[in-house]
C-alpha cells in the first residue's frame, strides 16, 4: 500500500523542483537580461560635452586675442629712432583713450625694408613739402583708395616743431583705424551697439547668394547686359574673399507691379514714390523673389517702370540716386531710360547704363555686409570688416556652445548624440587654430575663415537633427504605454511565483499535519 504513495510523493516533489527551477531561471533572466534591455532601449544617449573648456574659453577669449597690426614706415636712413618714439606715442595715446584695448589691439610700427606690396601691407610714406616753394602749403595726408598705402605730406615747420609723431598718430588712429578702434572697443566693453547701424547689416554667413533681378511691369521683351556688368563686380567680390564668398544669379521677371500704386505728380510731370510708401514698395507676395536657396540671399532689384514707355520718369522722393536699401535684405534701383523708347522695339539696357547701377549696388553691398564707412580704400575696409567679424564670430560661436551646454544641462530628456560632441570639438579646434594664426602670424584672412568655420560647426552642433526632445510623457501616459508591454509577462511571472509560494506553504502545512497525526 505504501509504494504507490511514495512514487506519487517523489513524482510530486520532482515536479515542484522543476517548477521552482523554472521560476528561478525566469526570475534570473528577467533581472539579468530584461532589466538591462529595458534600460538600454529607453535611456537617452547623452555624450559628454567639454563643458569646462567651453566655459573658460568663453569667459576669457578676449584676453587670448592679440592684434598687432604691422604698419611699415618708409623713412630714410638715419632716422630709425623715429619709429620707436612714434610707436610709444601711438601706444600712449591709444591706451589712454581706450584702456580696454591694451594687450588686445595695437599697431606694430616697422621700418619698410625690402619689397613690400602695397596691395597687401599697410605702408606709410612721407613727402616733405617745401614751404619756400609754396607759401600756403600745410600738412596733408592721402590714403590711397586703391591699396593700403598712405602718404603723409609734412611741412618743414612741422618737422622742426617735432610734431611728426603726433601727426602720424592722428592719421593712424583716427583716419585709418578709427572705425576699427571704435567698433572693437564696443565689442570688448560689450556696449550696446547703436541699433540703427547694425540693423542694416545682414547676419554673417561664409557664403551668400547674390541675386540680380530685373523687374518690368508688363510683358514686353527686355534685355540687359548683366553678364558684362557682373564681370565688373568680380574684383569687388574678390576683394571680399577673406570675409565671405558669393554665388551669383540673375533673372528677369515680367508683370511685376509694386504692391502700392505709384501716384502721378503733374507739377513734376513724373511718378513720385513717397518715402512712406517705400517700405511697402516691394511686392513680396507677387514678385518671385524667393530663391529656395540654402544660402542667405542678398537681393539687388532693378525696377523698370512701365512709365518708361511713355517717356515719363518714376522718381523716389528725396533720393538723388533713385534707389533705396532694404535692411538685411538688399537694394532696389528704379531705372528710368534717358532715351525715349521706340515703338515696337525691344528694350535693351546697355552695360553703360548698368555701370552706375552696379556702383550703387556695390555701395549697398558694403552697407549690408557692415563695412566701415571710412577710409575709402576697399582693401582697408575689408581688413577692418574681417577683423571685427572675426571677433564677432568667435564670440558668437562660443556663445552658441555655451547655450548648448546650458540646454543639455537643463533639459534632462534631450539626447546628445556623438555628432554634436564632434562638432563641439571641431568648433573649439577651429577657434584655437584661429587664435594661433592671429597671435603668431597676424594672418587675418586665415583667422577670419577659421572663425567662420567655428561658427558653422557650433551652429551644426546646436542644430543637430537628432537633438529633438519631442515627447514629454506624463507618468500616467508612460504607464499606459508600458502596461500592455510588460503586463502579460509580468502577470505570468507574478502568478507563477505566487503558485510556488502557495505550494510551499501548503507543503509545510501538510508536514505539520502529518507530524501531528503521527
Amino acid at each position: 500500500m505504501t509504494s504507490p504513495a511514495t512514487t506519487t510523493d517523489s513524482a510530486r516533489s520532482n515536479v515542484t523542483f522543476i517548477r521552482r527551477t523554472i521560476v528561478a531561471i525566469v526570475f534570473v533572466m528577467l533581472v539579468s537580461l530584461g532589466y538591462p534591455l529595458v534600460m538600454s532601449t529607453t535611456t537617452v544617449y547623452r555624450a559628454e560635452l567639454p563643458t569646462q573648456e567651453v566655459t573658460t574659453l568663453a569667459n576669457n577669449f578676449k584676453h587670448e586675442l592679440h592684434f598687432r597690426i604691422p604698419v611699415f614706415l618708409d623713412i630714410p636712413n638715419g632716422l630709425e629712432h623715429f619709429i620707436s618714439s612714434a610707436q610709444s606715442s601711438v601706444d600712449e595715446y591709444l591706451y589712454a583713450k581706450h584702456p580696454e584695448l591694451k594687450g588686445f589691439w595695437g599697431l606694430d610700427l616697422q621700418r619698410l625694408q625690402g619689397e613690400k606690396n602695397e596691395e597687401e601691407d599697410y605702408i606709410l610714406r612721407f613727402d616733405i613739402i617745401d614751404k619756400d616753394a609754396n607759401e600756403d602749403a600745410s600738412e596733408s595726408f592721402f590714403i590711397s583708395p586703391f591699396s593700403r598705402a598712405t602718404t603723409l605730406g609734412l611741412t618743414t615747420s612741422l618737422i622742426n616743431a617735432n610734431k611728426v609723431d603726433e601727426f602720424l598718430r592722428i592719421i593712424l588712429l583716427d583716419e585709418i583705424f578709427g572705425q576699427e578702434i571704435q567698433q572693437l572697443s564696443n565689442l570688448v566693453l560689450e556696449a550696446p551697439h547703436p541699433s540703427l547701424q547694425t540693423d542694416v547689416v545682414i547676419p554673417y554667413s561664409p557664403k551668400y547668394n547674390v541675386v540680380f533681378t530685373l523687374l518690368t511691369e508688363n510683358g514686353k521683351t527686355i534685355e540687359w547686359d548683366i553678364e558684362k556688368a557682373i564681370d565688373l563686380f568680380q574684383p569687388a567680390f574678390h576683394k571680399l574673399q577673406h570675409f565671405t564668398n558669393f554665388s551669383i544669379n540673375t533673372q528677369i521677371q515680367y508683370y511685376s507691379k509694386p504692391s502700392t500704386e505709384i501716384a502721378f505728380n503733374e507739377e513734376q510731370n513724373s511718378y513720385i514714390i513717397t518715402p512712406e510708401s517705400l517700405s511697402t514698395f516691394i511686392n513680396f507676395g507677387d514678385w518671385n523673389l524667393i530663391t529656395h536657396d540654402i544660402l542667405p540671399t542678398i537681393n539687388f532689384l532693378v525696377f523698370f517702370p512701365e512709365s518708361n514707355y511713355d517717356g515719363i520718369k518714376t522718381i523716389i522722393d528725396k533720393s538723388s540716386t533713385n534707389s533705396f536699401l532694404v535692411p538685411q535684405w538688399g537694394g532696389v534701383k528704379i531705372l528710368n531710360k534717358d532715351m525715349p523708347i521706340l515703338k515696337d522695339s525691344t528694350v535693351s539696357i546697355h552695360e553703360d547704363e548698368l555701370l552706375p547701377i552696379m556702383e550703387i549696388f556695390t555701395s549697398q553691398l558694403y552697407q549690408l555686409l557692415g563695412a566701415p564707412e571710412a577710409p575709402k580704400s576697399p582693401n582697408i575696409r575689408v581688413d577692418i570688416l574681417s577683423r571685427i567679424a572675426f571677433v564677432k564670430n568667435i564670440g558668437k560661436s562660443l556663445e552658441t556652445l555655451k547655450s548648448l551646454i546650458k540646454l543639455t544641462e537643463s533639459l534632462n530628456e534631450i539626447s546628445v548624440p556623438e555628432t554634436t560632441k564632434n562638432y563641439v570639438n571641431l568648433s573649439l579646434d577651429a577657434i584655437k587654430k584661429s587664435f594661433a594664426y592671429l597671435n603668431n602670424e597676424q594672418n587675418y584672412g586665415l583667422a577670419m575663415s577659421l572663425s567662420a568655420d567655428a561658427l558653422k560647426f557650433s551652429d551644426k552642433a546646436f542644430f543637430e537633427k537628432e537633438m529633438v526632445q519631442q515627447a514629454y510623457f506624463p507618468s500616467e501616459h508612460k504607464l499606459a504605454v508600458f502596461l500592455p508591454l510588460l503586463g502579460p509577462v509580468g502577470s505570468i511571472v507574478f502568478l507563477g511565483f505566487l503558485k510556488v509560494l502557495l505550494d510551499r506553504r501548503k507543503e509545510k502545512r501538510d508536514a505539520v499535519k502529518r507530524e501531528k497525526t503521527e
Partner: protein, 375 residues
C-alpha cells in the same frame, strides 16, 4: 461682408465723434515703436486637425494667414501648417474654396496661398523641429523659421486640445512642456525678440502655463475644463465655419491697417465671456512691456524701414582699378593671391551613432529571444 463693413462704418463714426480712443499721437507712437526693438516679423500658423468636420480649424488658420499677409508679412516669413483637406474635399459644396463666414464674402483659399507643411507633414516632430530649427542640412529655407534676436514671432495654434496637450491629426499630441522647452531653446539661441502666442482650442489656457522663457505674451481661448466654441455654421456648407475666439480676433484685426497704431490691449478688450462663451486667458508675466504699449503691428505687421540715399560713389571703380588707372580684368584677378583654407576632418553625419547601434543590437536580440520561445 455687410457685417464687417457695418462695423468699420460704426467705428469710423465713433472715432470721428469721440476723437478716436484708439489713436495715439505721433510722439507716443514713436516711443512705443522704439520699445519693441525688432526688425523683422514672422508668423507660424498651425491647424492641427484633419477631416471635414474640422472645417472651422482650417478656416481659422487661413483667416489669420490672410490677415498677417494683408498687414505685410511676406510669404517667405509665414510658416503655414495645415492638413489642407478641406478645399478639395468631396463633401465641399463649393469646391476649391474655404469660407470663414456664412455670407461667403471672402474666399480664403482663393488668393495665392503658400502652404509650407501640408497633410501628414503636420506632426509634432515637424512643429518642434520648426521652432528649434533642427533639420537636415538640405531642408529648404522657405520651410524654416529663420529668425534671429531681432525677430518678433506670432504663433497661432488651433485644433483639438485638452488639459496640457494639443492633438495633432489624431496621430500624436504635443504637451505644454514640449512647447515650453522648445521656446527655451529658441531663447537660448537668441532666435526671437518677442513671441506672441495665441491658441484657440479646448482648455487652451493650460498650454501656455508651463512657459518659462522671457518675452512671451500668450493668450488662450478657454480655461481648464472648458470647451472652446464655434461661432456659427453655414447651412450650405453644413458645418461650423469659424470658432468664436478667432472670429472676434479677426473681426478686430480687419479694422487694422498696415500703419496702424492700435495697441494690443484693445484687442484683449474684445475677449469677453459674452463674446467667446468661455473664459479667455492672457498671460503677461513673462512679457517685458505693458500690453497697452504693444502695437498690434509689432506682431501682425511687417513695417520695414528703408534707407534712402546713403549711397557712396566710386566704390566699384576703385575696386576695379589699380592705382595707375588700369582696369583689373575679369581674368587678372584670378591670378591674385588666393587664400589657403584649413581643412577639417568632418564627422560623417550618416551611419549610426553609438546609442542607435546599441538599440538595434538590443532589438535584434529581443526578436531572437521571442522567436526562440515561440518554437
Amino acid at each position: 461682408m455687410k457685417f464687417s463693413s457695418l462695423i468699420v462704418l460704426c467705428c469710423s463714426v465713433i472715432s470721428l465723434a469721440l476723437g478716436s480712443p484708439q489713436v495715439v499721437n505721433t510722439d507716443e507712437a514713436e516711443t512705443v515703436i522704439a520699445k519693441s526693438g525688432h526688425t523683422n516679423n514672422w508668423a507660424v500658423l498651425v491647424s492641427t486637425s484633419r477631416f471635414w468636420f474640422n472645417y472651422r480649424h482650417m478656416a481659422n488658420v487661413l483667416s489669420l494667414y490672410r490677415t498677417v499677409k494683408r498687414l505685410g508679412i511676406p510669404d517667405s516669413q509665414i510658416i503655414l501648417m495645415l492638413s489642407d483637406d478641406i478645399a478639395c474635399n468631396p463633401r465641399n459644396a463649393f469646391p476649391g474654396t474655404v469660407f470663414n463666414n456664412m455670407d461667403q464674402a471672402i474666399d480664403l483659399y482663393g488668393d495665392l496661398i503658400e502652404v509650407d507643411y501640408r497633410g501628414y507633414e503636420v506632426t509634432v516632430e515637424n512643429f518642434v523641429r520648426l521652432l528649434t530649427d533642427r533639420w537636415d542640412p538640405d531642408h529648404p529655407r522657405s520651410k524654416r523659421l529663420l529668425t534671429d534676436e531681432n525677430s518678433n514671432i506670432f504663433i497661432y495654434l488651433t485644433g483639438h486640445g485638452g488639459n496640457e496637450f494639443l492633438k495633432f491629426q489624431d496621430a500624436d499630441e504635443i504637451g505644454s512642456y514640449d512647447i515650453a522647452d522648445a521656446f527655451e531653446q529658441m531663447h537660448e539661441k537668441k532666435r526671437y525678440n518677442e513671441i506672441f502666442f495665441m491658441i484657440d482650442t479646448c482648455q487652451a489656457n493650460t498650454m501656455y502655463e508651463r512657459f518659462y522663457s522671457p518675452n512671451i505674451l500668450a493668450v488662450g481661448s478657454s480655461q481648464i475644463e472648458e470647451s472652446s466654441y464655434s461661432h456659427h455654421s453655414d447651412m450650405d456648407i453644413g458645418v461650423a465655419v469659424i470658432d468664436r475666439f478667432t472670429y472676434y480676433t479677426l473681426d478686430f484685426l480687419e479694422k487694422i491697417k498696415t500703419n496702424s497704431k492700435v495697441t494690443m490691449d484693445k484687442l484683449f478688450d474684445e475677449y469677453t465671456f459674452e463674446n467667446i462663451h468661455s473664459t479667455p486667458g492672457i498671460r503677461t508675466d513673462l512679457f517685458n512691456r505693458e500690453v497697452k504699449d504693444v502695437l498690434l503691428t509689432d506682431f501682425f505687421g511687417n513695417v520695414q524701414d528703408v534707407v534712402v540715399d546713403e549711397v557712396e560713389d566710386d566704390l566699384l571703380y576703385i575696386s576695379n582699378h589699380y592705382a595707375n588707372g588700369t582696369q583689373i580684368t575679369h581674368d587678372s584677378h584670378k591670378t591674385l593671391k588666393a587664400i589657403n583654407r584649413v581643412a577639417f576632418d568632418l564627422p560623417s553625419t550618416e551611419g549610426f551613432s553609438t546609442s542607435k547601434q546599441g538599440k538595434i543590437i538590443a532589438g535584434v536580440f529581443l526578436a531572437g529571444l521571442i522567436l526562440l520561445f515561440l518554437k
